[in-house]
């Protein structure tokens, strides 16, 4: 029983990381209809930014987050303005290609600035093990699960109760109609990139605190893709839940079946789910996938 509980807790921790990264993907997809293939690189870049801030100023986790998130949002806005805004009105495929190019640029820039060596980054968190019942956690692992819950709550509140959030849903439902109703689509796109970068920062800091900081962190973007597909491309909350499911399934598969099944378990789940619900667990029916 302990073994099962330990596996589930480990799965929730890795699933929380997947979920946060997938939420960033879902937010941009919801607002712009485009999958941002540079999301993993944003996670990596913002984690490195936090690492530099932590190196310069001794900050606790929440203070570090408070400083990093606005910078991440500014990075998201800048990238949107430079790379995505000029592509407005172009075919989705062209915009996706731009995000792929952006991903390569961000990887190169990160290595140029911070170098290729992996780094230890505690992110202002203690490394004392906390035990909840029979289950030990590092604080960073609990923070990852907690932050995912907070992000889900904030996303729900934002999309349901704020003016910008409702406008974003309107753009997602029908961009032309939203435009005719006076919604600034450009502004919504910018907000989506900015908020997505903020989520990437939280995900990046906690991922680095749990699994080290390195220039190969961008790959977590691709690892989180099954969570996004499972939850539904345009559902933030679905992406978070999808992340947790994929994390737990992967860990259970490795724990009980072993020998590399972790790698394929997530994909088996999405194949099965998509056969039953092609738009994902929480996605809207009329999604055109890229």
């Amino acid at each position: 029983m302990d073994f099962l509980l330990l596996l589930i807790s480990a799965g929730l921790v890795s699933g929380a990381a997947y979920g946060m990264i997938a939420m960033g993907f879902a937010l941009i997809y919801k607002a712009t209809g485009v999958v941002n293939f540079a999301q993993g690189e944003l996670v990596m870049l913002t984690a490195y930014v936090a690492f530099s801030i932590a190196g310069a100023v001794d900050l606790g986790f929440w203070s570090l987050l408070a400083v990093t998130v606005p910078i991440a949002m500014a990075i998201g806005l800048t990238l949107e303005r430079i790379f995505i805004r000029p592509m407005l009105g172009e075919p989705a495929f062209a915009i996706v290609m731009v995000t792929i190019g952006l991903a390569v640029i961000l990887r190169g820039v990160t290595i140029m600035i911070w170098g290729p060596d992996p780094l230890d980054f505690a992110a202002g968190l203690s490394r004392e093990v906390i035990t909840l019942g029979p289950i030990p956690f590092y604080p960073a692992q609990l923070y990852a699960i907690g932050c995912l819950a907070i992000l889900v709550g904030l996303a729900y509140g934002f999309l349901r109760y704020t003016r910008v959030g409702i406008a974003m849903r309107a753009v997602a439902a029908n961009e032309t109609a939203a435009l005719l109703m006076g919604v600034s689509v450009k502004r919504i796109h910018a907000v989506a990139w900015s908020l997505s970068s903020a989520i990437a920062a939280v995900a990046g800091i906690l991922f680095a605190a749990n699994f080290k900081l390195g220039p190969d962190m961008w790959f977590q973007g691709l690892r989180s893709f099954p969570a996004l597909i499972l939850g539904g491309l345009d559902s933030l909350i679905g992406a978070a839940i999808g992340g947790l499911i994929i994390g737990v399934v992967e860990t259970l598969a490795q724990g009980y079946l072993g020998q590399g099944l972790r790698e394929i378990a997530g994909f088996v789940v999405i194949v099965v789910i998509l056969m039953v619900r092609p738009y994902g667990l929480f996605g809207a029916r009329d999604i055109e996938r890229v």
Binding site: A10, P118, L119, D120, D216, G260
Partner: protein, 389 residues
Amino acid sequence: MRKIAAAGFAACLFAGPVLAADPGVTDTEIKIGDVNILTGPASFIGRAVSIGSKIAAAEINAAGGINGRKIVIATEDDGYVPSRSFQALKKLVESDGIFALSGTSGSANILAMLPLIEENKLPTVVTTTPNELVYTPVRPSVFTIGATYQDSFYAQVKYIHENVRQQNAVYGVIRQDDEFGAAVEGGYDKAVKEFKLKDGLRLRFKRGQTNFSAEVLQLRAAGVNALVNGGIIAGAANILSEARKLNMDLAVASVWSEDMPPSVKLSQPAGYPYILADYVALNDAATDTYVEKAKKYLSADEVGGINRYSYLSYVGLKVMAKAMEACGKELTRACTVSELRKIKNFDTSGLTAPISFDNEQQLSGRELKIYQLDPKAGTFKALVDFKRY
């Protein structure tokens, strides 16, 4: 007209040896190739290899070169991707015209390059990845320095069995699912069979995996208390971090790359005094002397990048230079290979055991030294001196 023809014929006769000479050699230079990992997460290895070659070349050139010819290093990046290694070597051979090869990247990378090395009969000294597949079967122009991963892990498990976990030991291995990982498990397997050890669990993982929570839980469930950790750099550190979280009492054997400062920094927080077996000296008089010597030729930044791979590439190029020197002015690849085969007890000033290639496998430096990490200080102490396993 006859005189002109005769003069032309004579000129051709005299020019013959020059035209027939192997590529990469001029009256003033010898061009040595170096295929290396200069980009990506493992690039600190490649940078260190380049630094070692640079020191060796600078030292040789400062002493007048090889029979008056200066050594020039031509480096190509492969990003640790085997297909790129092949392309890089093809460029070095066909475009740059190298005479010999010194840097040879990772295990899968040198294996990808071997057909081209054989085809061109390139004198090659492999120092960074002494994988058994490199010298089995023996390639006439390829010489290898270093112990195998099998030997390294056999030595460590033997040490743990005899000195650390003499009773109630349950052994386990976690390793990459590639040639390197197979070599790690090979050493583990040999020790387990020879010493009749309790084999708790064997696990494989994909290269680049970061999360080992499930694997470490499996190891704990199997009662493993002596672990062969086949992870490298962040992977190795993440395995130890998960084990620490579960409060596992472990004796840990590690890959020799875990003696490098970036790896040590990542693993230190877990606090395990892991051991490793290396065919290169660490933290002793030989390496201190080397670093002092290196400062003459390197920037402060480059001196900071020195690690075990620098010592190895330095030794590799010095051995190659010794063979080339023995060929005199008529330097050819065939002669260099023949002289490399005669190398016996080449003194490396304590950086490795003395080098001898006068054996069937053209393999040397297999002696291993066993070290243990002090996780608080981040330094290693020697447990067993250079010894053949």
